[in-house]
C-alpha cells in the first residue's frame, strides 16, 4: 500500500466519513419527500375526510359542504399538498383540522413524551442485554448460556401487548397493586416529572428488546472469539480478559451498534401499541387519533417525524459502524 500513497487521494477518500454522511443525508431527504407524497396520497384514498369525521352522523350534505369550505378541503388535492409542503419549507407545520390549534403545539408534548419512552427503553434494554450477552459469550454452552437461550427465546415469542398485559396484571391490578396500571401523564407536564407512570411502559418495551440485544451481541462476540486474530492472541499467551476486552470486543462493536439502531427503529414503531395500552400521551396515540379523525396535517407531521427519526438513526448507525471498523473504511477508500 505504501507505494500508492503517491497518488493524490480524492476528496472522498480524504473525508470518507463525511462523504458517507453527505450521501446518506441526500438519500434521506429524497426518501422524506417521497414519504410525504405517499402519506398524503394515502390520506386522500381513505374514505371520508376530516369534515365527515368531525361531523360524524351530524353530517347532512349542507353541513359537510360548509365544513369542507372552512377547512379548505374543497381545493384540489395538488393545491392542498402544495399549501402544506410550502408551509413545511417555511417551518410552518400547519393547523390541526379537527381542533384548529397548531400541529406543532399539539404534537410537541407528545413527541417529547415518546422520546422519553424510547430513550429510556433503549437504555435499560442495553444495560440489561449487553452485560448478560458478554457473560454468556464468555461461558458459551454453559448452564447460564443455555438458560438464557430459553428465557430470551420465550420472551421474544410473546407478543408485545401480552407482555404489557402481564406486567399490568402482576404489578397493578391483580397480584400487587403497587404501580399505576395506566400512564396518563397529566396535561402540562412531561413524562419525566411522573416517573411512576413510566415504569410499566418502559419495562414492557425494555423487556421486548432485551432478547434481540442479547442474542445479537452474544453472536457477534462468539464470532469474534472464534476468529483467527483472537485465536492468535490466545496462542500468544495473552490473558483471557485482555483477549476479550482488547481484541474481541472492538470487533463485535459494529453488529452491536447495528442492533441498537434497529432497536431504536423497532421502538419507534413499538410505542404505538404500548402507548395505546397504557393510554400514554405520545405520538403513537396521537397518530391513531389523527388517522381516525382524517386530520391530514397532524398525520403528515407525525409520520414525517417518525420517518426522520428512522433516517437519522440509520445514518448515525452507519457512520458509527464505519468509525469502529477501520477495515471497511480502508477497503472503501482503496483505489478500485
Amino acid at each position: 500500500m505504501a507505494t500508492e500513497v503517491q497518488r493524490k487521494p480524492s476528496w472522498r477518500q480524504r473525508h470518507d466519513l463525511l462523504a458517507v454522511f453527505a450521501s446518506r443525508l441526500g438519500y434521506g431527504l429524497i426518501t422524506l419527500f417521497i414519504v410525504t407524497i405517499i402519506v398524503f396520497w394515502a390520506t386522500q384514498a381513505l374514505p371520508g375526510n376530516a369534515a365527515s369525521a368531525i361531523l360524524g352522523t351530524h353530517a347532512t350534505p349542507a353541513l359537510v359542504k360548509e365544513t369542507e369550505n372552512q377547512l379548505h378541503l374543497n381545493r384540489s388535492v395538488f393545491s392542498q399538498y402544495w399549501a402544506w409542503l410550502s408551509g413545511i419549507l417555511q417551518g410552518n407545520f400547519g393547523h390541526s383540522l379537527t381542533n384548529g390549534s397548531s400541529v406543532w403545539a399539539l404534537i410537541k408534548p407528545r413527541l417529547i413524551n415518546s422520546a422519553i419512552l424510547v430513550v429510556l427503553a433503549a437504555f435499560f434494554g442495553s444495560i440489561i442485554g449487553i452485560p448478560l450477552a458478554i457473560y454468556a459469550a464468555l461461558h458459551k454452552d454453559k448452564l447460564f448460556d443455555r438458560v438464557m437461550a430459553v428465557i430470551t427465546l420465550s420472551i421474544s415469542a410473546i407478543p408485545d401487548f401480552v407482555v404489557a398485559v402481564l406486567l399490568v396484571t402482576i404489578f397493578a391490578t391483580v397480584v400487587w397493586k403497587v404501580l399505576p396500571a395506566v400512564s396518563v401523564v397529566p396535561v402540562g407536564v412531561y413524562a419525566w416529572s411522573t416517573p411512576r407512570l413510566l415504569v410499566l411502559p418502559v419495562a414492557t418495551l425494555s423487556l421486548v428488546i432485551v432478547p434481540y440485544i442479547y442474542r445479537m451481541t452474544r453472536a457477534a462476540l462468539i464470532d469474534a472469539f472464534e476468529s483467527e486474530y483472537v485465536e492468535l492472541a490466545r496462542l500468544k499467551g495473552l490473558r483471557p480478559l485482555r483477549v476479550s476486552v482488547v481484541h474481541a470486543l472492538p470487533n463485535a462493536l459494529a453488529p452491536v451498534i447495528q442492533v441498537s439502531g434497529l432497536n431504536f427503529i423497532y421502538l419507534a414503531g413499538g410505542i404505538v401499541l404500548v402507548e395505546y395500552i397504557f393510554n400514554f400521551p405520545g405520538i403513537g396515540q396521537g397518530l391513531v387519533n389523527a388517522v381516525s379523525d382524517r386530520d391530514v396535517p397532524t398525520i403528515q407531521f407525525i409520520v414525517l417525524s417518525l420517518a426522520t427519526f428512522y433516517i437519522v438513526i440509520n445514518i448515525l448507525a452507519d457512520v458509527a459502524v464505519l468509525v469502529v471498523t477501520p477495515r471497511r473504511r480502508y477497503a472503501r477508500s482503496a483505489p478500485a
Binding site: L46, P47, G48, S52, A53, I54, L55, G56, T57, H58, A59, T60, L63, E66, S96, T98, N99, L106, V168, A172, T173, K177, L179, P180, A181, V182, V184, P186, V187, G188, Y276, I277, F278, N279, P281, Q285, G286, V288, N289, A290, S292, D293, R294, D295, T298
Partner: protein, 536 residues
Amino acid sequence: MRDDHGTASARSIKAGVGRRDFLRIGAYGTVAAGGAGLLAACGSSSPASTVSNSGGGGKPKKGGTLQFALGSGGSADAINPLQPGLPPDYARIPQIFEPLAIWDANLQPVPLLAESIEPNTDGSVWTVRLRKGITFHNGKPLTADDVIYTFQQIMNPKDPGYGALAMQMVDYMNLKKVDTYTVQFPCHGPFSMFLKTLPVYEYFIVPVGWKVGQYIGTGPFVLDSFVAGQASTMSRNANYWQSGLPYVDKVVMTDYTEESSRVNALISGQVNCIDQLSAPSIAQLKSSGMQLNISDGGGFCPFTMRVDLAPFNNPDVREALKLCVDRPAIRTAVYGGYGAIGNDIFAYWDPDYDHALPQRTQDISKAEYLLKKAGHESLTLSLVVAAQAQGWLSEAELFQQQAAQAGVKINLNQVTTTTFNNSYTHWPFANSFWYSNPYLNEVALATLGSTSPFNETHFNDSHYQSLYNQAVATLDESKQRELIREMQAIDYASSGYIIPAFLPVIDGLSPKVHGDGPSKSGTSFNNWDLRRFWVE
C-alpha cells in the same frame, strides 16, 4: 343535527370517532326505584349493581375530587355547548353550562334555569320565565337576552347548532323579550314537543356575545384547563345559584380510549369513576370490590334495511329477517342479561311505547315460509357493520348465525366508523346505533321520508307522516298517545328496523364515591348531573 332528547346524544355520538365504544343510551322511564341500589331494572336476572344514591353512604361530605376516565374521546373533543359531538363533550359541558330544563328522576322535563315553561292554549307560543339571581361565572346576571341570544345562535342557518333541527318549529327570528326574566317563543304552528325537547343537550344557555372557545356558563363547575383528546380540570363554582352545591371541589375528566385501560385505572385507584363499559367488564369490577351502576337504557344497536331496495322492498323479506332473531339469546350473550328485549319499535322508555304489541320471537319455519313466498328460498345478503356501541360485533355475529337457520346467508362486511359515516343512510343493510329518544323525536330523525335527516331505512309512508303531524300538533296527551300507537303499529308491521335489544348503561365507581343515581336519560353518571356526588 339531531334533536331531541336522548337524541341529543343519539346521533351525535354516532359521530366518527366517538361512536365506537360508547354507549350512552338513554332511557326514559327506567327503573322503578328510588332508593339506593336499583338500576338493573330490567333484568329479572341482575345480580347486583349497586349504587348509592345521594342518600346512601352516609351524610354527604364536602371536598374531594372526582376523577373520571371517559371513553370515546379524541382530538375532536370540544366544549362547545351548542355543538356537543363526542361522549366526553356530553360529560363536560353540563358541568359548565346549564339548559332551561333537565330531566327529573322519572325523565319528565323539569325547569332548571327556568322557573316555569308554559304553552298557550294550542301550543303555538311557549313562555319561559327565568329564575332570578342566577349569575354566569363572570358575575353577569342571567336574563332574557341571554336566552334569546342562545337560541338565535343555535338556529342560525349559516352555522346551526346541533339542536336546530329539533326546534325548527320555533320562529327564532321573533323571540320576544317580555321583561328582564321572561321570553316568549312563538312557533310556526302548534308544537307540543317544545318542553320535552329542551332537556336535550343542545340547548345550554350561553351569555350574550358568547363565542366558541369561551367557557362562561352558569354551571356548578368552572373550567380550569382543557386539552382536546386528553383531559380537563374543573373547580367548584363558589357562587353557584343552588347554595351548598356542588359537594366536590374538583372534577378531572381524562380520555381513556380503551375500555381495559379504564377498568385498570379504576382498579388501581388512578381514577374513581369510569363510563361506557361492556358486560364482560362487570365480573372483573365486582371481584375487585368496585361499585357498578347498571342502568337500563333505551339506546339500541339495530339492523337497518332499506325498504326502497330489493330484496328489502318486499315486506315479507323484512318480516322474515325480523323472525330470524333470537332476542333473548342476544340479550344474554351480548349484554350480559342486562337491558331490555326489543320488539322492532323505538323509544322503549317513552311512556307511549306500546308494550301491548305482541313480542316477536324467533320463528324459523314462518321465516322460511315467508322467504319462499317472496321467492327467496336461498338468500345471500351483505351486512355492513361498524363499531357502533359495545357489543356491536357479537350482536351481528349472533344475528348471522340465527339467520342461517332459515337459510339466509349473511356476509358481514366490517368497515371503520369513518367509512360507515361517510356513506351513512346509503347502506342497503347495515347496523347502526341510536340513543334513547322520545318516540316523536326519533321519528322526526329517522322515518319521515326525505324530511328525516337520518332516514337509514328510506321509510316513506304518507299516512304515517300525517299521523306524525297531528301528534306533534296536539297538546292533548291521550289523543297524542293514540296517534303514536297507530304509528307504532305501522313500524311494527313494516318498518326497516330490526331492534333485537335495548342496551344497558354500565358505569364503574370506586366504593368511596357516593351520590350517583340511575342514568335514565341515557348518559352515564346520573345523566351527568354531578352536583350531589361526594367522595369519602
